[in-house]
């Protein structure tokens, strides 16, 4: 009778991608921290009140910005749902969750575009106030970050459908989810400084 030992367990995968994403997200948070610090600094130099900081004719719509924050939170939840689904080997739900995350991202970009169209504010401010430049730079940088998130979600969804992940290999999906959590936190900062405090 032949005896055979069971195969040794596969070596644990090193979470390089997740660690790298965590560091990249930390760098991203510092980037938005830098933008918001400049925004706060120049707001302070301009008198420190909304009346002295925002040009008189400019009205910042608040409802779309609040909607954006809620949408980003939902995107964070659906991104985590993708991780949950992949841990159970459910590729279809993973892709659906990532697709919904992407849709939320598109909705956020749409809301931001709506805010721009409602404000009708030129970047070049004739009054010599810094608000215009810093508003567009901060919100524009966030839109750029969301577009990167859309690309990551799309690629990961297709990779999921293509069978590149499994219940024991969810690192790629977790990394994308982490990126969307970072986006939500970054937008919370942008929302508070730019849309609430103004």
């Amino acid at each position: 009778m032949a005896l055979a030992l069971p195969a040794a367990p596969a070596p644990a995968r090193t979470p390089s991608q997740l660690v790298a994403t965590a560091f990249a997200c930390a760098a991203g948070l510092m980037f938005f921290g830098g933008l918001l610090a400049l925004y706060a600094k120049y707001r302070h130099l301009a008198g420190g009140t909304t009346a002295t900081w925002v040009p008189k004719k400019v009205r910042i719509p608040e409802i779309p910005s609040n909607t954006m924050l809620i949408t980003m939170m939902l995107a964070s939840i659906t991104a985590q749902w993708a991780v949950y689904a992949m841990r159970r080997g459910n590729r279809r739900d993973t892709s659906i969750a990532l697709a919904i995350t992407g849709l939320f991202g598109v909705a956020v970009i749409n809301a931001q575009a709506f805010i721009y169209s409602q404000m009708k504010m030129p970047i070049r401010n004739a009054d010599g106030k810094a608000f215009n430049v810093l508003f567009y730079t901060t919100t524009g940088a966030f839109m750029f970050a969301v577009i990167i998130g859309l690309g990551l979600a799309a690629v990961t969804a297709f990779r999921s459908l293509g069978g590149r992940f499994s219940p024991t290999e969810t690192e790629g999906v977790s990394s994308v989810a982490l990126y969307w959590h970072f986006l939500t936190v970054a937008f919370a900062g942008v929302w508070f400084f730019v849309y609430v405090t103004k």
Partner: protein
């Protein structure tokens, strides 16, 4: 027949040569071998360093007679800012990160760097950004540039450069954090890898803030120059990243290099290794400079906290050099160019750190604005002191890079640089760094302004600027000598074994980490002991 053959051969052979060159360039620029990527980074950094040293020598020579300058007066401010920005991001940072990409995976027992394609991308990104930055300066752009378009191109180029360096940092951090050999716990990681883990982590937290500043500067400059003003103000918003305390970040891996080289040459285990690790960690914490932006708050340099930060800059260098002295004393040191470079670079860094202690004292006025430039176009932010301190620290890092090349070169090329020719360069480098730091530092006390060549001040500034010119010249010689000796040594030098220095950590073996039990920070030393 002959004519036909010639007709066929000539274009075919030319085509073959062209194809060969293209294939080699493609091969190098798309490589996923971490050693090649590291060599590309370090080699490019050295070449950039040599070019920037020539610029520095010209500027320093022009300052000797400040009333009759020989360089075009409208170009000197741009040349000075190119030197300061370039030395940090186009020369020292790529050398430091290139060596990290090449050596760290070997030190932690990984088969390659984490995300090798991203590491290649980081090099290509950095190179592209560097071309944009230098091109912008050549086309009358950059800080104080006459062309708005090229001034903005400088900002874009610098963002691209920093993005490239940040991608490289992520690869290094992920390698140390996740690809260590079994048994190689974080406290057993070789000192160079540990220092790079700290340095890259701080870069990832600090330099994104610089990118934020650059993006804001770009948009502001493009649309009405509000609130940051014209291109003459650029430096006041970005120079925090490469002046004290941010400049220490570039020299952090040097501490790791010293921590690896000295015990190897002294043939002992590093005494109080944990203390050295804490010192490196503290130096990293102390070099975070995003909160010290003089463009946003002119008084930030004089905050009481800055006294502590400056003292905190001295302490790690003092500790690492002191502990290295203990290692030398307790062992039987052998001679080697890397050891001389490590000690010379350490002393130069200590001098730079000591110089920083004077900066926060308002009474000395070293960080005070110096009025308007001679051509009336710019407000002069400070005396030359912070630039002198930064140059000294960056020279120390550069010396460390040259020494690291001599130390790990045999592991990358299989040949070694001639020790006897290389070692004197370290002493020349130390002399050069000291001359620049001390001469320009003293000139700052008579209010010699930063980034200017035309000024009217009292004191022996001519003699001091002659000494500084000699210092820059010596550093240029060191870089040129290192390039020459490396080219010769790594192509025609003595063929060495895998471990010419009897090293202590995993990079000096090719047996694979499964053959070596890692039970301490010096696994190869353990094996010899056994």
């Amino acid at each position: 027949m002959i004519m036909t053959e010639a007709h066929l051969d000539t274009p075919a052979s030319t085509g073959a040569v062209t194809t060969d060159v293209v294939a080699r360039v493609t091969d190098w620029t798309t490589t996923v071998d971490h050693r090649r990527i590291g060599r590309l980074f370090a080699g490019s950094g050295l070449v950039a360093g040599l070019g920037l040293m020539v610029v520095a020598v010209l500027l320093a020579a022009d300052r000797i007679n400040s009333s009759a300058t020989f360089l075009p007066i409208d170009a000197t401010y741009q040349m000075s800012t190119l030197y300061r920005v370039g030395l940090a991001f186009l020369a020292v940072a790529p050398i430091v990160l290139g060596l990290a990409i090449a050596i760290v995976p070997l030190q932690v027992g990984a088969s390659n760097i984490a995300f090798p394609r991203a590491a290649t991308l980081s090099y290509v990104t950095w190179l592209g950004g560097s071309v944009l930055v230098v091109g912008a300066f050549i086309a009358n752009g950059g800080p104080g540039g006459g062309s708005n378009w090229y001034a903005e191109l400088f900002l874009v180029g610098l963002v691209v450069v920093i993005l490239g360096l940040l991608i490289a940092s992520i690869c290094v951090v992920a390698t140390v954090a996740t690809l260590r050999a079994p048994g190689l716990t974080l406290d057993r990681v070789p000192m160079f890898s540990f220092a790079n883990l700290i340095a890259c982590s701080v870069m990832l937290l600090s330099w994104p803030v610089l990118i934020a500043n650059l993006v804001d500067l770009y948009v502001s400059h493009r649309y009405g120059q509000v609130p940051f003003g014209d291109s003459t103000k650029f430096m006041s918003y970005i120079d925090w990243a490469f002046t004290h305390p941010g400049v220490t970040l570039f020299a952090l891996p040097l501490l790791g290099f010293i921590g690896d080289v000295v015990p190897t040459f002294a043939r002992v285990r590093q005494p109080m290794r944990a203390v050295m690790m804490v010192a490196i960690g503290f130096a990293g914490l102390n070099s975070f400079a995003a909160d010290v932006q003089r463009g946003l708050n002119a008084n930030t340099a004089y905050r009481p906290l800055m006294i502590l930060v400056s003292l905190g800059t001295v302490l790690p260098f003092l500790l690492v050099l002191g502990l290295s002295g203990l290692a030398v004393r307790s062992g039987k040191p052998t001679f080697g160019a890397p050891l001389v470079f490590a000690l010379a670079a350490g002393v130069a860094a200590l001098l730079a750190a000591a110089m920083s202690v004077l900066m926060p004292f308002r009474r000395l006025g070293l960080m005070d604005p110096q009025g308007v430039s001679a051509d009336g176009l710019r407000i002069i932010n400070t005396t030359i002191y912070p630039a002198a301190q930064a140059s000294t620290m960056l020279f120390a890092a550069l010396l460390g890079g040259c020494g690291a090349l001599a130390y790990w070169g045999p592991r990358l090329w299989g040949r070694r640089i001639d020790d006897k020719k290389m070692a004197p360069l370290a002493l020349l480098g130390l002399l050069g760094a000291a001359l620049v730091g001390i001469a320009e530092g003293i000139a700052a006390f008579s209010d010699q302004p930063i980034d200017e060549v035309a000024f009217s001040i009292s004191g022996p500034h001519q003699l001091l600027n002659v000494l500084a010119t000699v210092g820059y010249g010596l550093m240029a010689l060191v870089v040129l000598g290192t390039i020459g000796l490396a080219l010769r040594g790594f192509t025609k030098g003595d063929v060495t074994g895998i471990d010419p220095w009897e090293g202590q950590s995993l990079e000096w073996t090719v047996e694979g980490t499964n053959q070596i039990a890692v039970t301490s920070a010096q696994p190869l030393y353990d094996r010899k002991d056994a």
